[in-house]
Each structure stands twice: as structure tokens, then as C-alpha cells.
Symmetry: C2
Subunit: 341 residues, 2 copies
DNA sequence: GTACGGAGGGAGAGCGCTCTCCAATCCCGA
DNA sequence: TCGGGATTGGAGAGCGCTCTCCCTCCGTAC
């Protein structure tokens, strides 16, 4: 009993206990080729009896596979605050592991905020610790995607990369989402609508902004004032101050994400505006901020879980066939109507 | 070049390129024993030339070490909401990886919410994928700590386990923190103080409650009304409704964590109470909720980063010496004074 | 009775690495 | 000049597993 702890049993031990060869035990465990059902049973009992657990290192040494994939969350600056504040990541993890767990594939979460962490992640991936990686990058200039494409296992991206890259990715139709927001504000009767965009070097921000402008133009609104934020609540507050100063009469607002919407909402209220009565606010993402707001935010929601599951599907396909051509899958967002608009 | 991708170079290749033996290359890479500096240089150049990356599987097969440890976040129910909403986990990760990175040890994050996920985590740990684990459990009845102690690699816990267990852990002096809160409320001149506690099957909640009561008793307050919550904002709201109904005149509140404090604060405000003028509120944890509140929360802050670093230190010591006796390290909390009290 | 085929099991060669021996070399003092 | 210790490099045995051969055995057809 005491020795079981120190030296865990090997295939050899199981084989001896079952009175068969190592190869047969291996076959039973991996379910390959025909093995007499009776012997299978004997082996299984022996496995249980000696408390055998396959040694992953030995296995992957010969197979070249590890049976686990990494979820790499990369970004700069306000990184931890982002990951651990934004339930978006929770939905990503949930979607991925929901798809992976039944397949017996392990998910390893890696965080790469600073440059040295990034180097470590690359090391980790190159050393063959995982068979592939799903990369969620929160920053436009993040060099990680490019570095990974160059050397390393198969990678799938969340969201279209800022620079064109030979890499599969999954994204949402941002402009369609923005259009939902625009149509809703118009339907509510808003006349003077403004927008707070995300950083314009991020493709998603750009698409949301241009999609919103386009949809508004279709409704006859040629000019939509906009201020650029950086996806934080604080930047939303500052942007709203600017908007209220420059365009005092606005009665509708579309923010590039919920956090900025929340900031804007707080500022609007501190200026005595009632939401949604005086100002209708629509966010994007359906993050926890949307629910934390008073009133709760009307917002555009991506099917993050579905998107994440699709990412794992794509990644597994790439692992299976390294020469598979890269693809992109785009999902349609929904509008979640709450009280802010 | 093309083949480098498919079959990555091995030690043998480096050895051939450098004109030395495999053993020598290994020695250079691992920095063991004396190797002629000139040869070292030659080997290093060969490594760079062929683009060699050590195969971790092969290495850990022989060494029995993997060079990575797991951070297992376990809990039931509102799990994802917790991890990805509570910046507390961000601070934990930050503290751990800050300590581990310079040592070249990889951190693998694992989430174990449901029972099947838990089984998978145990598998993962037993298969020797990591050398040890740091376990953060958010639930009192979580069976994972006990299961891991029984079979698996060294484990260190965040917070004292609900059931006594032969396992090292790191915790904060909860009662001392509660006392800081009590003293502060008294110093502000509060006369009728109440508290909202966390679930009482969690040791931390219990200690905070009894510590608070004890400190208040020391100030002559024999009776402190309290309502039990479950650490969620919603439970804080419900608890506050109860408190206001049963004890209309309270002017000071200590909540078992910030989320409940936030809920309580919102309810108090909706009842027309001004914070801190009519009601002073003190939270616990210094989570993001503390800052998101209006007014921002005065709260008790643990040195989470230091605690996390200490956990990694303990874990590495246990890995180094499996027979090391278990220890607990208790940290002192601070009071962060903001506007709510 | 012989030939043949398929199913079931074993033997053994590695996967890429570390690490223990052991051999070669060198420097020193006697 | 030679012996002995220190230093440095190489040979080779595994770590635990998978997987390709190959052998045996049995049933079937001729």
C-alpha cells in the first residue's frame, strides 16, 4: 500500500497480475483490435486491483499526442482585470470544455499578459505539452497569433486577427449586431443618436462602428457623432462627458461594449438624464456589466458558447489533419432587450 | 526547413551537428556538471541552428517531473460566474505566476465545477501531468480536497478546509479582519450595528462572524443581529431587506464579503438610506464589487498575492520533499477605507 | 488429410530523454 | 618518469508506453 504511492504501477504490473502480456493490456485499455471478452474482463479487474493509471508522458512520447489543448488568453495591460471581471471568458471556457469533455480531451488554461509570459507560453506549446491551442487575444497589436502560426501546434483564433494571418478563426457578424442596435433605437423613436466606439485598431470595433453608421444612414441619419473609447468603463465615462458637452440633445446611444455603456449610463444619470426615458442606451456583448447596470442594459449578445464549441471543433480538425485549409466561421448575434432601451 | 516542421529535431540531431555525444548536449542544456566552455558554445550554436526544443514528454518520462503545476479552481453551482466575475481569482493567478515564472515552472489552470469535471481533474493529476496542485475551493462540501489528498500529487489549499485534512494551506486571519471592521464602525460612531454573514458551513464565514461579534462585544455591544447569506449579491439584497424589516434603526453594517455588501448597499439606498451618512457599510475581500459600488466600499483586504506566492512556495517544497510535514501560514488582513464607511 | 485464412495473443523495437557508470585526458607532485 | 586524483566526454541502460511484426490456434474448404 505504502509503495503504491511512491512508484505507481505500470502496464507491466497489470500484465503480470492478469497473466497476459503488456501488449494485451494496452489493447484492452485503448480498445484496439479484438481481445477475447473474457480476457478483457480479467485485465480490467487487474487494472482496478493494482490501481493502474496510464502514464501520460510515456504514452505521448510514443504517440506524439498529448490529449490536451490549451486555451491561451493573451492581451496587454488591464489583462487580469479583463479576464477575471468579464464573464465573457467564463462563457468561452464553458463552451469549449462542454465540447471537449465528452471527448476526453483536457483543457489547459494559459494566461499570457506580459512579454515574458508570452515567451513561456510559446515554449510550452512548442515543447509539445498540448496538441493545439485556442487563442483569445484582447489586443490588436498582440504578436502572439503571428508567433504561433509560425512555429507551434495548430491554433484557432477567437475573432478575426488584426493582421491577415493563415489561421482559422471564429467570429461574430459585428456589423449585423450594430445594425440590430440601430434598428432598435430607431424603432424606439430616437432622433439624435450617438455612439461610443472601441479602439479603432481592433477590427471588431471598426465593424461595429461602421455597421452602426451604415444602418443609421439607411434610416436617413447621415451624421452620427462618435467618440473612441478603449472598452473600459472609465473610457465610457469620459466619452460620455465629451458627447454630452458637444451634443447636448442626444437621446440614443450605442456603445461598443457593455462596460463603456455602463460608464456612459452612470455619467448620463449624474447629469440628470433618465434612462431610457431621456436617453436610450444599447451595449454590446451581454456581459455581467449589462445586468449590473441600473437599469439593466439592452445589448447585443454573441452566441459565445456556440462559437467556442466551434473553435474546439475546428482545432480538433486541424490537429487531425495538419494540412487542412484554414477556415472562418461567422455567427449571427442577437439583441437582448432589457430596460435601458 | 519543411521537414523541421513535421519531425522536430532531437538531442541526437543537435549532438551530430555539434560533433559531440547526446549526453554532452543534455548536460549543456540542463547546466549540469562541468562542460568545457568552448564546447558549451558549440552546442548552443547547434541548438539554435537546428531549432531544437526539448521534448517534455521524453524528459518527464525519465525524470518523473513535469515542470508544471496546476491551479485547480473547484466549486459547485455558480461557478463560472464566480471565477470570471471575481477579480479575486485574478489576484491569485497573478500571485502564483509571479512566483513561478522566474523559476520556469508552468502554471496550468483547471476548472472543476461539475462532478465529471472533477473526475477529469483527478485523472489529470494522477496521470502525472503536473507535479502538484494548488487548490482553491469555493464550496464547503467540495470533496475534491479529500480526494486529492488520498491519491495524487502534493496539494496546497487556499483557506482552511472545512473538514480537517492532512494538507498544507494558506489562509487569512478572518477574525482579525472582522475586528478591523468592527473597530472602524465603532470609531465612526455607529450605535446599532448588524452583520450579514456568509454561509456558516464555511470556516471563513464563521470566523468572520464570530470575530466581528467578539470585537463588538469588547466595545460593549452584546447583541449583533445577523442574517446568513451565501456570498452572492442577491443574497445580500435579501438579507438587507430582512435586516431593515427586523431592525429598522441600524446605522452600521458589516458584510461577509463585498458582493453581499454591494447588494445590501443597493437595497439600503432604495429604502432611502444615505451611505455612509445614515448607514455605514464595510465589506470583505476588496473585490471589484468594492470599487464598482457607489459609494465605493470600505472593505477588508487580504494580501492575496502574497498568500498565493506563499502557496506556490509551500507546494514546491512539498514536491521537493514529499515527506515534508504539512503546515499552515496565516496572513494578516488590512482595512481599506473608502467612502462607504 | 492438407491448405488456407482469420482471429487472438506475445515478443520486442523503439519514442527522446536523463543519468549512471566508465574511459580518456590532463595536471600535479614525488 | 610515473602514479594518482580531478576533470571532462561517451556509451548505454532504461523510463512506460504503443504498435508492428509474427506466431499459434482453430475453423473451414478442398
Amino acid at each position: 500500500m505504502r509503495e503504491d504511492r511512491l512508484v505507481s504501477p505500470t502496464l507491466e504490473d497489470v500484465a503480470r497480475a492478469a497473466g497476459v502480456s503488456r501488449a494485451t493490456v494496452s489493447r484492452v485499455i485503448n480498445g484496439i483490435r479484438n481481445v477475447d471478452p473474457e480476457i478483457q474482463e480479467t485485465v480490467r479487474q487487474a487494472v482496478a486491483a493494482v490501481g493502474y493509471v496510464p502514464n501520460r508522458a510515456a504514452r505521448s512520447l510514443v504517440t506524439g499526442k498529448t490529449g490536451s489543448i490549451a486555451l491561451v488568453v493573451s492581451g496587454a495591460g488591464h489583462f487580469f482585470a479583463r479576464v477575471f471581471t468579464d464573464p465573457f471568458f467564463g462563457r468561452v471556457v464553458s463552451g469549449i470544455s462542454g465540447h471537449l469533455r465528452p471527448l476526453g480531451v483536457h483543457l489547459v488554461l494559459m494566461l499570457a499578459e506580459a512579454a515574458d509570459a508570452r515567451a513561456q507560453v510559446i515554449d510550452y506549446l512548442r515543447q509539445g505539452h498540448v496538441d493545439g491551442a485556442i487563442l483569445v487575444s484582447t489586443h490588436a497589436e498582440d504578436p502572439l497569433p503571428a508567433q504561433l502560426v509560425e512555429s507551434g501546434p495548430p491554433v484557432v483564433l477567437f475573432a478575426r486577427p488584426a493582421q491577415p494571418l493563415r489561421i482559422s478563426y471564429v467570429d461574430v457578424a459585428h456589423s449585423a449586431g450594430a445594425r440590430l442596435a440601430a434598428d432598435h433605437l430607431i424603432a424606439r423613436g430616437c432622433e439624435r443618436v450617438a455612439t461610443i466606439s472601441g479602439p479603432l485598431d481592433v477590427p471588431a470595433s471598426l465593424e461595429r462602428l461602421s455597421g452602426f453608421r451604415e444602418a443609421m444612414a439607411r434610416h436617413g441619419h447621415a451624421y452620427i457623432p462618435s467618440v473612441e473609447g478603449n472598452f473600459t468603463q472609465e473610457s465610457g465615462e469620459q466619452a460620455m462627458e465629451r458627447l454630452l458637452a458637444d451634443h447636448p440633445g442626444i437621446d440614443g446611444l450605442f456603445a461598443g461594449n457593455d462596460l463603456m455603456a455602463q460608464g456612459a449610463l452612470l455619467v448620463a444619470q449624474s447629469h440628470g438624464l433618465r434612462v431610457p426615458h431621456d436617453l436610450a442606451v444599447v451595449g454590446f456583448d451581454d456581459s455581467s456589466a449589462a445586468l449590473a447596470c441600473r437599469p439593466p442594459l439592452t445589448t447585443v449578445r454573441h452566441p459565445v458558447e456556440d462559437m467556442s464549441a466551434e473553435m474546439s471543433r475546428l482545432l480538433l480538425a486541424h490537429i487531425e489533419d495538419p494540412d487542412r485549409r484554414v477556415t472562418s466561421v461567422i455567427f449571427e448575434p442577437d439583441l437582448v432587450i432589457r430596460q435601458s432601451a
